[in-house]
């Protein structure tokens, strides 16, 4: 126990200690008196002598008490009490400060709560400090399955390695019904639950046997949330048979909802998993799939392990490194040479934070910081104004002998009390807001505020308190008792400080508003980009994933051809083509290409699409050189951009090149097609490679209509259902896929717009408050001017001119800042130059005008005051 802690304890038991001390002193006095009497003294004299020898009882008691008190605590408590009294006396001020701080910190809190939940908080796993993640040398990339098996078997004495991957499945819970629903599942190795130390709520989890295909049906473990939703928590679910992607599975157990799985932080929003199936079952869930045998196929498999008792991380690392070297030798040319990495799961792995997460984090924290800055500047301004209003009170306290430090402390205590209230309110709003947003969908992470959130909130409150409190406190406690007592004129420096705050606020605000304008213009431009493809007249049947998962090769080709044949004869359809992936569908394939002369040189990344010969005409893509597919061996059509990148201005037709890393293919260019956006509107001139489609490996159907494609959606859906009654293949228009992209951009602009509006409101409030305050201080002067014949307009314009000076400086600084930021985010903008004159011009002009109005209102009001009343204001 430290002395400090003992003091605290003593403080809590103060009354008892007081009593005990009194009792002790009483005893002492009596014993002294007794001994004096024993020595022959008169009892009455002895009583007095004992007291004399003891000394001043009150002082001694007080000194004894002092030794228990925590230094300053009493006076801190006094400050807090005083702060509460002050706040109660002017509830309007307190409320304005608290609400401003709450608005400023809510965003900050929301961002931190999410970042904390997504990235910082370790997964909820028993003994997490013994759990590690094995990646394949690239962050967030697990090993391939055959590599995983080798690592698992050869490092078995150091750790127990499990593997898992997410997969979307179609489940038929009731085998008597046709109803099929999509579920989110995890493919898990047999030791997955053992490694994570997860026990079943009902039944059991997988055991080691789950790694091998059993003789009977496969096992499945379901999550508690899914168990509750679909089975109403019926324990009889154990042993029940369900169908996943048409394959029978037997439910063997339920794992608790508290187990949220292990998502790689920062990769994508973690989701609640509905059920778990053995890893091997991927081969029957997706027929023809041989990913478990591919040493060069990364398909999202992740590997985690638990160190065996007594094994150090360093030993696991060196073993893994040794295995990797051995594998490089054993499978030369069949696998990439890699340097696997073993990372403790419980610690934040900075390698997982990609450049993209970095940019997003910087952007969001930058924006929230700006808003917080504006809010703080406002509060500081209010504080300065209030310090003036309280100058008489402060002067009295100084005159009565309070030290300057004491006054500063008093002010800081007040700021901190308000900042703490505001931040608490802001964070509460943030957490509530997030919870409302995620209510629709259970998320796989806990949003409950933890110690980190609390600590961060306290830090924010402290910073806000310091940022908003120190200057007003120093200003208010400036020595100079007499002018304060006389309620004389405020020092001009105070106004200069306020001007600095206003300038800063306006600069931050211009930055945000300009960025909002840029985003909105970008969204506008995105909507106006010529998609080249006749998107409104293209109807698609998205069969890629569905057919790949369900049918064998020949069956797929038959189904696709049949759908194509039926759509072609539908009235209003002018042509049909096949493509994989579909344009603007959100999925994309890419590969590396190299010129045939430099097969080992650095490759170029290109997008790939497999299309039928009719595709180019259907998609309005003119062949600018050569021809479309003619059935020649290895024929490909490439985009103008790819042609230019590989061969410059030389004629690409007839040139050969290679694609792929391991399974290489040769290609001969047969034609060059016009550049067009295909994956996203942003990518108008991406290098593209079109290969002839092989329908037996799946694909999607695209139909060109003479009228709007949306009108034929229903008819097309009917035709598709006639071909594949059980399946639900998505019939859609390309335009709707594009609309989604544009609406995402617009949503982004809207969100920043909301922030911009908030910042604007805060900043204008600040300008108005400062002008009002400046005007109020000069009421007397206004009265003199009016009495001397100045008109209302003269006075108003004078006041406005003076308030606008910091605004102008702020706008200029803000525009410079916005130009810098905008340059950094130019890559995300659609068809805009980094410094878009329209966005910059309108935003700064708007802000300028709005500030003018904000300062004009209080100035006008002051200028209208009767000169007589104004003169008497002293």
């Amino acid at each position: 126990m430290t002395p400090w802690l003992r003091r605290l304890l003593a403080r809590l038991r103060r009354r008892r200690l007081d009593d005990e001390l009194a009792e002790e002193i009483q005893l002492h006095l009596e014993q002294r008196r007794q001994s004096l009497i024993d020595g022959g003294m008169d009892p009455r004299l002895a009583e007095r002598e004992a007291r004399r020898l003891f000394g001043n009882q009150t002082v001694i008691t007080e000194r004894a008490r002092e030794s228990w008190t925590i230094p300053r605590l009493s006076s801190v408590a006094q400050d807090v009490r005083y702060a509460i009294r002050v706040a109660r006396r002017s509830p309007g001020y307190a409320a304005a400060v608290i609400v401003t701080i709450a608005l400023g910190t809510a965003l900050n809190g929301a961002v931190f709560v999410l970042v904390n939940a997504f990235m910082l908080r370790p997964p909820d796993v028993v003994d997490i400090e013994r759990v590690v993640r094995l990646d394949d040398g690239r962050p967030a990339l697990g090993p391939t399955y055959p590599d995983y098996v080798d690592y698992r078997d050869r490092t078995a004495d150091a750790m127990d390695l499990a593997a898992y991957a997410g997969i979307g499945l179609k489940a038929r819970i009731d085998t008597k019904s046709e109803a099929v629903e999509r579920v989110r599942a995890v493919l898990a190795s047999g030791n997955y639950f053992e490694v994570l130390k997860v026990r079943a709520v009902v039944g059991r989890t997988f055991d080691g046997r789950a790694d091998l295909p059993p003789l009977g049906t496969a096992e499945a473990v379901i999550g508690e949330i899914y168990w509750t939703r679909r089975f109403n928590r019926d324990p009889a679910v154990i042993g029940r048979s369900i169908e996943l992607n048409g394959q029978p599975f037997t439910v063997v157990g339920v794992v608790p909802a508290s187990f949220r799985g292990v998502d790689i932080p920062g990769s994508e929003a973690p989701t609640v998993r509905d059920l778990y199936v053995p890893l091997w079952s991927v081969t029957s869930l997706q027929p023809g799939d041989d990913r478990l045998r591919q040493r060069t196929m990364w398909w999202g498999l992740q590997s985690i392990g638990r160190l065996r008792p007594g094994v150090e991380l360093s030993r696991a690392r060196s073993q893994v490194a040794a295995v990797a070297t051995a594998l490089d030798g054993e499978y030369r040319g069949q696998r990439h040479e890699r340097t696997p990495y073993v990372a403790p799961l419980g610690r934040i792995d900075v390698r997982l934070f990609t450049e993209e997460t970095g940019i997003i984090a910087a952007a969001t924290s930058g924006i929230t910081l700006l808003v917080l800055l504006i809010a703080s500047a406002n509060v500081a301004n209010l504080g300065l104004a209030r310090a003036v209003a309280r100058s008489r009170e402060i002067a009295v306290r100084l005159a009565l002998g309070a030290g300057r430090g004491r006054i500063v402390r008093q002010f800081l205590t007040e700021s901190f009390a308000l900042a703490a209230c505001g931040t608490a309110l802001g964070f509460a709003l943030a957490i509530l807001g997030i919870q409302v947003v995620v209510r629709e969908e259970p998320v796989a992470f806990s949003l409950a505020p933890d110690l980190a959130v609390f600590a961060y909130g306290s830090l924010v409150a402290l910073i806000v308190a310091a940022a908003t409190g120190i200057l007003p406190a120093l200003q208010a406690s400036k020595p100079g008792v007499l002018p304060g007592l006389k309620d004389g004129p405020a020092s001009p420096r105070r106004n200069r400080l306020q001007a600095v705050f206003v300038g800063g606020e306006i600069a931050s605000c211009v930055l945000l508003v300009v960025m909002t304008a840029v985003m909105m213009r970008s969204a506008q431009k995105a909507a106006a980009i010529d998609p080249v493809l006749p998107v409104a007249q293209l109807l698609t049947v998205d069969a890629g994933e569905e057919l790949r998962n369900r049918s064998e090769g020949p069956a797929r080709a038959t189904v696709l051809t049949e759908i194509g044949r039926r759509l072609e004869v539908l009235p209003g359809v002018t042509g049909v083509a096949f493509a994989d992936p579909l344009p603007f569908s959100g999925s994309r394939f890419d590969t590396m290409v190299r010129r045939i002369e430099t097969p080992d040189g650095p490759g170029r990344r290109v997008f790939v699409s497999h299309v039928s010969a009719s595709f180019f005409a259907l998609a309005n893509l003119p062949i600018v050189r050569g021809s479309g597919f003619v059935g020649a061996p290895d024929e490909v059509v490439i985009s103008q951009t790819l042609a230019a990148r590989l061969w410059g201005t030389a004629d690409p037709v007839g040139q050969a090149f290679i694609s792929g890393d391991f399974s290489r293919s040769n290609h001969v260019v047969i034609g060059v097609v016009r550049d067009a956006p295909f994956v996203s509107l942003q990518q108008r001139s991406e290098p593209f490679l079109f290969r002839p489609i092989d329908l037996s490996s799946g694909g999607s159907v695209m139909a060109r209509t003479s009228g709007p494609a949306a009108a034929l959606l229903h008819a097309a859906d009917g035709e598709v259902r006639r071909v594949v009654p059980g399946e639900r293949l998505g019939v859609a228009t390309v335009a709707s896929g594009l609309a989604q992209e544009i609406s995402a951009v617009q949503a982004g602009a809207g969100m920043i717009g909301g922030l911009g509006a908030l910042a604007l409101a805060l900043a204008l409030f600040g300008v108005a408050a400062v002008t009002a305050h400046a005007v109020a201080q000069r009421t007397h002067e206004i009265g003199v001017r009016m009495a001397l014949g100045a008109t209302t307009t003269d006075t108003t314009s004078l006041m406005v001119r003076q308030s606008m000076r910091p605004v102008i400086v702020g706008v200029l600084l803000g525009v410079i800042g916005a130009a810098l930021v905008s340059r950094a985010v130019a890559a995300f903008l659609y068809g805009l130059s980094a410094v878009d004159p329209v966005a910059f011009g309108t935003a700064s002009a708007f802000l300028f005008a709005a500030s003018m109005v904000a300062s004009w209102i209080p100035a006008r009001r002051a200028a209208r005051v009767d000169p007589l009343i104004a003169l008497r204001a002293e």
Partner: protein, 114 residues
């Protein structure tokens, strides 16, 4: 806050704590006993304002150098008994040695070796 200490200067500053700790090396004592012990051993030369013993006892407790508990005195009254803790014993050792050095130094100044 800021009350000036009112110990009489009869005692070298800081020595009261040391004397209390030293007294307690003899065993468990109550406040009056400690005062008596100091008075008698010093042949009544050291004049301690008896009351100032109590704040000192509180201070030493907060430091963790002594501990106390309530017991019964000889005439069967409730009394608080103090005892030295391990940390207190260590502190006493340090105080004694530094005090020894101080006395030695003072002695050397007062009576320069001739």
């Amino acid at each position: 806050m800021g009350k000036k200490r009112t110990e009489r200067q009869d005692l070298l500053p800081g020595t009261l704590d040391m004397l209390i700790l030293k007294s307690l090396t003899r065993g468990v004592m109550h406040g009056y006993g400690i005062a008596e012990h100091i008075r008698q051993l010093s042949d009544e030369v050291l004049h301690v304002e008896e009351g100032s013993l109590y704040p000192a006892l509180q201070r030493l407790q907060i430091q963790g150098w002594i501990a106390s508990e309530w017991g019964h005195s000889v005439n069967n009254r409730r009394a608080r008994y103090y005892r030295l803790t391990r940390a207190g014993r260590k502190q006493l050792g340090e105080a004694e040695s530094s005090f020894g050095r101080l006395i030695e130094a003072i002695t050397r100044v007062m009576k320069p070796a001739t």
